[in-house]
Symmetry: C2
Subunit: 340 residues, 2 copies
């Protein structure tokens, strides 16, 4: 067996993360104790929230200590087990972070059936991003047929599911994405009604969104903040709902950024609700009823952006914060024996 | 009978309204037609939302046309009726605006029983401000015993009810008000747990609120915006609720004012909900069950700030926007025969 290759947080970023904030280091393989198992990481999920975990400032969760491996959701295969619920060869989704092997007590581990769906989907459409999309749209947004749903970062792991779910529930789905390729994909492959390329739109962003959502916006699924937010919020309809999922445009900022004038929210009787999916993992019955079947039947499509090798995780993550990925960003850390 | 004295909107304010924006003019008494009645205005309610109705910009409701009387809730007595549901001598709460007489078809009129509560309370604690407080706190805020509720404009018609209701539901009630007299009243008369004088606090506002709400803020009932909002929002607890009722600090502004950084809302999973009570007049069963009895028993107290004579309405309204009133601002337009 190999060493355990890990990506450690070396220093905290000031603004944009750089490769110097990370350190790649090999360690001996850890040994599972009674009640633990050792797994080999196959897939590592890279997600925008990780930027928050690199900071010193207080965020939602325990941030990463300097010298520790970066955190993250993973799919792995168990190579050695002293845990009664897990056997050698089992595939699992877990939270073992940016490392090629990990020991776990199984507290946050779920077994995966490789015959029911590709393993990697446990980190995308059938995992945390899919649940995020479903919770925000269905439980906070509460879409009604005929309404208009606008979602930023529309080609991403969360946004792509938001728009497809909105369509399945009879809504007009309008995506906002950066670049023609992403917008073409959102409309032609995912079936959104329209997509606005915010990079190409520039100063016409407000008008282009207006043209794509001529009846105004009933639900704005917020992933980005920034100029997109500023163009969308004045176009909210009365009683609009804004599931506030992410603000990727601001994650590298060192200072606070003002939000929209609350007079807009008052006049429109709008509701803005910040949420984090991990608060709701126990309330996902509706997700499990709806989304896996829709993925299997092809009604919900997904796209993966796969980077090979854990050494490339830092660069891929830095690119993610700039919108360079196209689809769910995954690092393939080791071979997936179920993948043809 | 006298003429009908009316306060007309003469010009639209640029920033703060001034007396020159209003014109006081006498008109002949209007004559009710079949299905209408004529009422004599006794009480006129002055409320912050009226600033919005003076503007040209699109707000929630039809704004006042130049040359028309200012709008507003009123209590009156019917002096002549050709309406089958209303008789001469009946007391009513209606929406007849800044004028001493009005003809109405009764579509927005409710009869009042002068024996059940003082007539003027139909414009304050048992009227629109009381319903606003109840809806925002109970239906949007959803207070749980032990939580901390902060309300701005705490001595006002809405804020005073919010804090007293919060106490009745087992919450810590913290008021924010301008001036020592108002704060003393909020704590000593209304029974709030604490009150912060934002004018005296100055740059220490954040710390004084922290001291008054040491466990953080679960519900912020927003009436004002501005510096108070900026000091409160960073102190919201996880899953905080913000019923967004008013933003009086901004009503005279000609330009948009940025709101709080949405990252604060995201990290705290907070919900901000703009609302307007008139959307919910049909959903007030809980209000009628709870509030009139609490007023009668003295568990909910109220205070009126009464200005005599409709000619003084413009100055009183201008003062309202500066926080000069102390309690529910009412104009006594004519004699209240039920008042000793």
């Amino acid at each position: 067996m190999a060493n355990n290759r890990r990506v450690l947080l070396k220093s905290r970023p000031q603004g944009e993360p750089t490769p110097a904030n990370f350190e790649i280091a090999d360690a001996p393989l850890p040994e599972p104790q009674d009640g633990e198992y050792l797994s080999r990481t196959i897939w590592l999920s890279l997600d925008p929230y990780m930027r928050g975990r690199m900071a010193e400032t207080k965020g939602y969760a325990a941030n990463v200590n300097l010298g520790d491996p970066m955190v993250g959701g993973t799919v792995g295969q168990i190579v050695k087990s002293r845990h009664r619920s897990f056997r050698e060869g089992d595939f699992v989704v877990e939270y073992s972070g940016w490392q090629s092997y990990a020991v776990s007590n199984g507290a946050m581990t779920m077994k995966l059936d490789p015959d029911s769906a590709p393993l990697s989907t446990a980190l995308s459409v059938l995992g945390m991003p899919g649940m995020t999309a479903w919770w925000g749209l269905m439980q906070i947004g509460k879409p009604k047929a005929g309404e208009t749903v606008v979602v930023s970062a529309a080609s991403g792991a969360v946004g792509s599911v938001v728009g497809q779910l909105a369509r399945l529930h009879g809504c007009r789905a309008v995506g906002i994405a950066g670049g023609k390729d992403k917008c073409d994909y959102v409309v032609n492959e995912l079936g959104f009604d329209a997509c606005v390329d915010y990079r190409a739109a520039g100063a016409n962003l407000f008008r282009e969104i207006r043209a794509a959502a001529p009846k105004g916006i009933d639900i704005y699924f917020e992933n980005v903040g920034g100029a997109v937010q500023a163009a969308v919020v004045p176009q909210l309809n009365d009683f609009a709902r804004v599931p506030l999922c992410g603000l990727i445009a601001h994650y590298n900022e060192m200072q606070t950024s003002p939000g929209p004038d609350w007079r807009l929210l008052l006049i429109k009787r709008a509701t803005v609700t910040g949420f984090i999916v991990s608060d709701h993992f126990g309330q996902m019955d509706g997700f499990w009823k709806e989304v896996p079947a829709a993925v299997k039947s092809g009604k919900i499509k997904y796209r993966e952006d796969i980077v090979q090798g854990i050494d490339n995780a830092p660069d891929a993550f830095i690119g993610l914060l700039k919108g360079r990925n196209f689809g769910k960003l995954l690092v393939q850390v080791s071979e997936d024996p179920t993948r043809r």
